[in-house]
């Protein structure tokens, strides 16, 4: 067990953005001056980065509140928390910078930025969660607070999409809650323990908590337990866009403003992943699940999602939507890796979390930039984009290649680990079927991402007149790159995606340590 060190500093990264965000929303007259908001947001993000760094460096845990006698809310910082929190804060900072420029065109910036900050606070809280209940609390709050980001534009579609997002998330959360309730029943409100808490009792078909690690629980039947775990997987999988509850993703992303889509698909989907990790590796424990029907079905679902997401993306004409489907598919890579319950696959999965986060953010920001600059959303219309914005398209291309998994870009590393892990996992048919699906999906990824590059740089003659005609006045101007506020983050993210691919050693080492702890 952990040494109880009450580390109040853990609270700061959570409270600060939330407070500032609330202030932006609530304080009257805050929106009179745009500069004031921007300053507040950027300042907060920077301070937040510092605070988060401090908190992560300090580590430790903190009991927030005794909700009831048995249920406590607590924070605890471990490797996973560090990974996710760092990722979150970093991405948030970059996207924040980007959105300063992007949001100029949108209305009601005040609300956007207010909730943007609040979501950050909540996400950090989610990353820090020390037990399932806390996780659940922040999970729900995340859903609710991120809702305004999704329906920011308040068009009919946006509101509908927002509600869809909301209901899928809430449904997922309540599905997961069932499992949480059952776990509580088995072992009480335990903090996360690497490797999980649950063991199978010999002979009786019951499961119980591990000796010496829980209190006040009662054994339950294994069937029920597995069903509950499955519910949690599916439920949290909703956020991660896993198959049965993936429907919100392609609807919600395109309607949201680009920064929102970026963080949604880059970070918020990962919170689903985080929840799954917490459940499987820190609460339930991979040992109990290995070889059960839950694992089988889970693998099946992830693979299905991977394949389906790619296929749908391949057929999708709207860029943002295509990226959203891509997210569906890519996040399921991560889930697939997790579902292997194998350490290399675990490393692959976690690294894919990081890489996909960077890559997908870059891609979405690119798409957003295109929209800001040209107002185009369909891939078909973007022919010849490279002539106007070669840098942007270049970044896009790099990110796309990384996502496809072309070495030396980062995607390759994570996929490699995933494939190796899968082959070594001993899960029967999945051990080879998984990598095959991943490969096919990678091909599809290339198929849906690269056409933009090709058409952008090499528009060819087909339809050029059309394009010119359509562009009207915009046509003649040769170079029209987005502003520095936009390009900066994109460049940083792209560079990150590339560099991590080239030098993955440190990250992988850290991840392997983590994997060793949980498996």
């Amino acid at each position: 067990m952990y040494a109880i060190e009450e580390n109040i500093i853990l609270l700061l990264p959570v409270v600060l953005p939330t407070a500032v965000g609330t202030a932006i929303l609530m304080v009257p007259g805050f929106d009179r001056n745009r500069g004031r908001i921007i300053a507040a947001v950027l300042g907060t993000l920077l301070v937040e980065a510092a605070l988060a760094g401090l908190a992560l460096a300090t580590g430790g845990s903190l009991v927030l509140w005794q909700l009831t006698e048995t249920v406590a809310l607590s924070f605890h910082v471990d490797g996973i928390s560090r990974l996710f929190a760092a990722l979150t804060v970093g991405v948030w900072l970059l996207v924040g910078i980007y959105s300063v420029s992007y949001m100029k065109q949108e209305e009601e910036e005040r609300r956007f930025f207010g909730f943007y900050l609040i979501v950050l606070g909540v996400l950090v809280g989610l990353d820090f969660s020390g037990n399932l209940i806390t996780l659940y609390v922040f999970y729900e709050l995340m859903t609710l607070t991120s809702l305004p980001l999704v329906l920011h534009e308040r068009t009919k579609e946006a509101v509908a999409a927002g509600l869809k997002y909301l209901f899928y998330s809430v449904a997922g959360a309540f599905l997961a809650l069932f499992g949480i309730f059952l776990l509580m029943q088995i072992c009480g409100n335990q903090p996360f323990v690497p490797g999980g808490l649950i063991v199978r009792l010999p002979g009786e078909g019951l499961v119980s908590f591990q000796e010496g690690m829980g209190s006040g629980g009662t054994p339950v039947k294994e069937g029920l337990f597995l069903a509950a775990v499955f519910c949690m997987l599916v439920g949290f999988g909703a956020k991660a866009g896993m198959f049965p509850l993936h429907g919100w993703l392609p609807t919600a992303h395109p309607v949201a403003p680009a920064p929102a889509s970026a963080v949604l698909s880059g970070v918020i989907t990962k919170s689903g992943v985080l929840a799954v990790i917490r459940v499987v590796y820190f609460a339930v424990g991979p040992k109990v699940l290995r070889g059960t029907w839950v694992q089988q079905v889970w693998i099946l679902l992830t693979l299905l999602t991977v394949f389906m997401g790619s296929m749908l993306a391949y057929k999708e004409p709207v860029l943002k939507k295509r990226l959203a489907y891509s997210t569906v598919s890519q996040v399921s890579y991560v889930l697939f890796g997790l579902s292997m319950l194998q350490s290399q696959a675990f490393v692959g999965a976690l690294s894919h979390v990081v890489f996909h986060s960077l890559i997908k953010n870059a891609l979405f920001l690119c798409a957003g930039a295109v929209i800001v600059m040209t107002g185009k959303t369909r891939v078909r219309d973007m022919r010849g984009l490279g002539e106007k914005m070669p840098l942007l398209l270049g970044c896009y291309t790099v990110a796309a290649l990384a996502l496809v998994g072309i070495p030396p870009a980062s995607g390759f590393v994570s996929k490699w680990y995933l494939a190796v892990g899968a082959l070594a996992s001993g899960t029967g048919v999945w051990a080879w079927l998984g990598p095959v699906v991943l490969l096919v999906s990678a091909l599809l990824t290339a198929g849906y991402l690269l056409p933009l590059t090709i058409q952008g740089f090499f528009p060819g003659t087909y339809g050029k007149e059309d394009v010119d005609a359509g562009q009207g006045k915009a046509g003649p101007e040769a170079r029209q790159e987005p502003s520095g506020w936009m390009m900066g983050p994109i460049l940083i993210l792209t560079a990150g995606a590339l560099l991590f691919g080239c030098f993955p050693g440190a990250l992988l080492a850290a991840l392997e340590t983590l994997a060793g702890a949980v498996l």
Binding site: Q66, L67, T68, P148, K156, Q185, K221
Partner: protein
Amino acid sequence: MKEILLAVPVLLPIAGGAGMLAMHLGTGGKNDDRRLMLLTAGLVAVNSLVIFWLLRFGTGAGLVLFRLFGNLTVRFELDPMGRVFAGLIAFLWPFATLYSFEYMKHEERKPTFFAYYVMTYGVTSGIALAGNLVTMYLCYEMLTLVTFPLVLFPMTKEAKRASRRYLYYSIGGAAFAFIGLVFVLSFSRTGNTDFIPGGVLNLEAGRAQRNLLLLVYVLAFFGFGVKAALFPLHGWLPKATVAPTPVTALLHAVAVVKSGAFAILRFTYFSYGTEFLRGSWAQEIVMAATLATIVFGSTMAVREIHWKRRLAYSTVSNLSYILFGAAMMSPLGLAAALSHLAVHAFMKICSFFCAGAVMHQTGKTQVYELDGLGKEMPVTFACLTVASLSLMGIPLFGGFISKWNLVQAAFACGSRSDGMMSESAIALPAAAGAGVWLPYVGVAVILYSALMTGIYMLTVLVRAYFPKVAVGDTGGEEGGNCRSQEGRTKFRDPGWMMLTPLLIFAAVILVLGLHSAPLMRLLAEIGGEAG
């Protein structure tokens, strides 16, 4: 001497209300209005104070007010479970009264309204303080009687129909509850119907006629369940929302329906006793009924577009949470049921009051009319947000706590059935079969209902906070809506008399969500005693 005070909270408002009716206060002048309000406020406040005094200083033994017939006495006693309910209503009523002062400002026939309003307080206190089943039954019937003028109050055709329906349902329910009363009386161990934790049933005699008694239990459960809006008998509740909002809120979210639930709790845990019922087919039936109600209520709430009716359907489903707790027949179940009873009261009264505030300020009753009001009435909708999230069962809000308790109790109940199955499947064939899965199904149902709650409450909020804007030609049908929004006058939050209760209830929900330990400890004690 102290015991006499027990009768005060019951008799004082009833007498006061009757007096108000008799005095023919205020048909015109402002002075009259003020007198009426003073009188009402005084009665309610004094009564609440008395109840709090009783809660604080205890009461000693029960008080036998008079002997109705044979062993049937009208007896008041303040036991722990009664305390919870009494405290609840004593807390809610003054604020609700405050709210209604403003709400009813422009209505006619105020004296009638307030007279019955005050009388209802007395009768509900009577239910809380009832020391035996007969008194409970008496107050239960009287409750029907004093609340039906309130439902009838608008005097529209709809209201008449609703009140008639309400009356028929309630009386019908009481008729079946009466069967239960008679059987308890006849099979009582003590010869009377006093509430004793663990029940008064004579188990030897009961065993001989087990099936009969179980049948009667089911009948009585459904009988009391009418007030608690159990599924096939819920019809009156959504209709009764025609009443003025303070009535709907207080009566149909708190007093009346909670009285039904409370009566079932009393009947199950203090009259029949769980020992007799546990694991029987009767338990399965009632549990299945409650689950069906939960599903039904939440689903209907999603379908409903009239806001108050939607809330009423939500009440239908939430009440069955309580009944589900009751049907578990375990200490945890009782504690959970009571906690939901308390928490739901705050949540639902808060939501209803918000709805009422909106109606009062804007006259809007349908969900689709609420677009954009969140900005204009921020306080109201903030409170509604709190209430909604709590209803959904988001942690940090009160609703989560009670759901948490319910689910835990359900799991405990389920695992107990498991245990029973493995240990004594032969001894208790009744316990075998599908029944053991019911608690788990219950958990699933609760979560389903939570999802539905999310849908029906959050759509309101989303509408209010994020009104759709028409973009180009996409929002064809929204266009008109949008224009009308431009042209209309701004609405504002209601006055302090309405806002104060809202804020306080919202605060209480938060407090209950964050710091519920003392309450839960109390409830667990009650549960442990009675289960």
